[in-house]
């Protein structure tokens, strides 16, 4: 369980994290999303007391991390694959970490086995590939069998097998009642793993809510309809007050009507429907929409948040430009929560 309250971190003149408050609850996987440079890693380091917050505080199971008598049992962290001495073997590295809290050698063997590093445990960590480095970091995080697990970009450098493995590992750890806090820039990965999201942009909180709720905040995507009776469909949609646009593959997208309204109307008129699917934004689309104004480094230097909305990023010209424009300024429609905690 992690509780951050008003976390702020300033490096020189640059505000890396700005009034961040969120909670990571036990029993679920909480995804930590944000564009590059939005302050995710800084936040994670502050949780562990590696970086000192300029203001605010963060508690792990009710007390600051540094005050824990069994820190390795409180939080197991994979910060980045580089938190290892390159000249030391994986086994010795883990033994040194385990020794601080008297964790037995058998546990070291266990985690080495668990992450699949047995064959290379005697090799110097400096020669490890990115994926092996990640596995070593995960082994180190699991040593103390912690109640909170924190992974910074864990799937970086892992092969598909490794990605599947860590996805299941995280779900398994959460199911055991642990809090799992994982950052990633891979939305699809997050959509498969996380139940809850903490989203930040430019160091500020954009969302702290369940994944589903986050996605529902995006502009409506309409309903996908497929029917052999094109003309009748067009008529009934227009009559019901909806708007129909045709997609390339012969299907249609209907805006401003619910699937129920379309289905009932079609039934009354005896129009056959072959498909009726409510369209939901993917997590990736939701993320892009809701953080567009909060992206630190635009490819071609668009103006920052607070200024006019960035150049229109048209997603297929399906008549929802106005919605996109609105969503491009997250401060306008987003975080009631963020504003509440800022007080």
């Amino acid at each position: 369980m992690i509780e951050a309250v008003g976390l702020r971190k300033v490096y020189g003149k640059k505000v890396a994290v700005d009034g961040l408050s969120f909670t990571v609850r036990p029993g679920i996987v909480t995804g930590f999303l944000g564009p590059n440079g939005s302050g995710k890693s800084t936040t994670m380091r502050m949780i562990l007391g590696l970086d000192r917050p300029t203001a605010g505080h963060v508690l792990v199971d009710g007390i600051p991390y540094a005050k824990h008598r069994n820190p390795l049992g409180a939080v197991g962290a994979l910060l980045d694959a580089k938190a290892v001495h390159t000249g030391r073997s994986a086994a010795r590295h883990l033994q040194a970490v385990a020794a601080t809290a008297g964790i037995p050698a058998s546990r070291v063997d266990e985690v080495v086995e668990l992450v699949g590093l047995r064959e290379v445990a005697k090799k110097r960590a400096g020669g490890f590939s990115l994926g092996m480095g990640q596995r070593l970091g995960i082994a180190s995080a699991l040593l103390g069998d912690p109640s909170t697990v924190m992974f910074d970009e864990p799937v970086n450098g892992l092969d598909p097998d490794g990605i599947l493995w860590i996805r299941n590992l995280m779900k398994h750890l959460a199911a055991e009642g642990r809090a799992v806090f994982v950052s990633s820039h891979l939305m699809s990965e997050m959509a498969l793993t996380a139940e809850h999201l903490v989203v930040i942009g430019r160091g500020k909180l954009i969302a702290d809510e369940p994944v589903r709720q986050f996605i529902d905040r995006t502009a409506p995507r309409g309903v996908l309809v497929r029917s052999p009776q094109v003309e009748e469909l067009r008529e009934l949609v227009t009559a019901a007050g909806g708007h129909l646009t045709s997609a390339q593959d012969g299907s249609f997208r209907v805006a401003d009507l619910t699937p129920e309204q379309i289905g009932d109307a079609a039934a009354r008129r005896g129009v056959a429907l072959h498909e009726l699917t409510p369209q939901r934004a993917s997590l990736e689309e939701a993320f892009m929409e809701l953080t567009a104004g909060a992206v630190e480094y635009h490819a071609h230097g668009a103006p920052g948040a607070g200024g006019p909305a960035p150049e229109q990023q048209t997603h297929g010209g399906d008549g929802r430009q106005a919605d996109v424009r609105q969503a491009d300024v997250p401060q306008a429609d987003v975080p009631q929560q963020a504003q509440e905690v800022a007080r």
Binding site: R45, L48, R52, R69, G87, A96, A99
Partner: protein, 286 residues
């Protein structure tokens, strides 16, 4: 609607981690494992021993060839107040080795900081000062024991070489001899600790080693140039490495602090390096 029951806090099993406990003893064990598991540290340690014994033997041999020549013997004795300190000569290599052990002190902390290992260390042991103290203690123990053995070896090898001449060689039981030999190991340990403190301060192995070389080898020479009108003698007396001079020699050296006063000042210098490094380490983001 139907999802309201699902949205209620689900029955999450209460997870309890195993009851391990961060202890200072554990930190010591951790530092011990870390010390011996990096090859560069191991090689530098071997280098310090080889330097102490090897250079000591070479210089002793070079001098012993001169000792057979009465004229050369007087000439050599002239520079040392009329009295040849064969203990000090046998330990010539130890003077060089002190710089090598300074490098060990620098590497064990700066190498950890530059590789990012320090984040793992401070995650496992968030009490940074305790973690640093454990590192300093382990370094002290290892350097003190290893260098004491090396210095003793250098002493006995040196005296064995000198005994091939007709000069009377000191025994380990003679007054001040054991103190000088072990004092040399203490001086080396102090310099290793100063390297540790400076490494924590500068956070970079190479920079720390160069700075230590300047402080140990260059600055004492430069201080020789300070004229008496600027209190040159006093400055030389109280300068870092010079304070340990009497501790490492059998004969009292003129214009230097006496053995124990000097040792106390030397300890203060080392403590200053360690405190500076510890404060930097405690305050800084890693």
């Amino acid at each position: 609607m139907s999802t309201t029951t699902l949205d209620e806090t689900p029955a999450v099993p209460q997870y309890r981690p195993p009851q391990h406990r961060l202890t200072f003893g554990g930190m010591l064990r951790s530092e011990w494992i870390k010390f011996w598991s990096v090859r560069s540290v191991l090689w530098t340690m071997i280098g310090a021993v080889v330097c102490t014994v090897g250079i000591g033997a070479l210089i002793s041999w070079g001098i012993s060839t001169g000792l057979n020549d009465a004229g050369a013997r007087e000439e050599m004795a002239d520079g040392t107040g009329g009295q040849l300190d064969l203990t000090l000569l046998a330990l010539s290599g130890a003077q060089f080795a002190s710089l090598v052990v300074a490098a060990i002190g620098a590497i064990v902390i700066a190498g950890e900081i530059s590789t990012g290992m320090v984040r793992t260390t401070f995650t496992a042991a968030p009490r940074r000062l305790a973690a640093f103290a454990a590192k300093a203690l382990v370094l002290t123990g290892i350097v003190l024991v290893v260098m004491a053995l090396a210095d003793l070896a250098a002493f006995f090898i040196g005296q064995a070489i000198f005994s091939t001449t007709d000069i009377t060689t000191p025994g380990i039981g003679d007054e001040g001899v054991l103190r000088a030999v072990l004092g040399t190991a203490v001086m080396q340990t102090g310099i290793a600790l100063a390297g540790l403190g400076l490494g924590a301060l500068l956070r970079n192995s190479a920079g720390t080693i160069v700075t230590m070389a300047a402080l140990v080898l260059v600055v004492p020479g430069l201080l020789q140039l300070v004229p008496e009108s600027w209190n040159g003698d006093t400055i030389r007396e109280y300068y870092f490495v010079n304070t340990a001079t009497s501790l490492t020699t059998v004969a009292e050296i003129p214009n230097m602090l006496s053995v124990w006063v000097g040792a106390a000042w030397f300890a203060a210098w080392v403590a200053a390096f360690l405190v500076a490094g510890a404060l930097r380490l405690k305050r800084r983001d890693v």
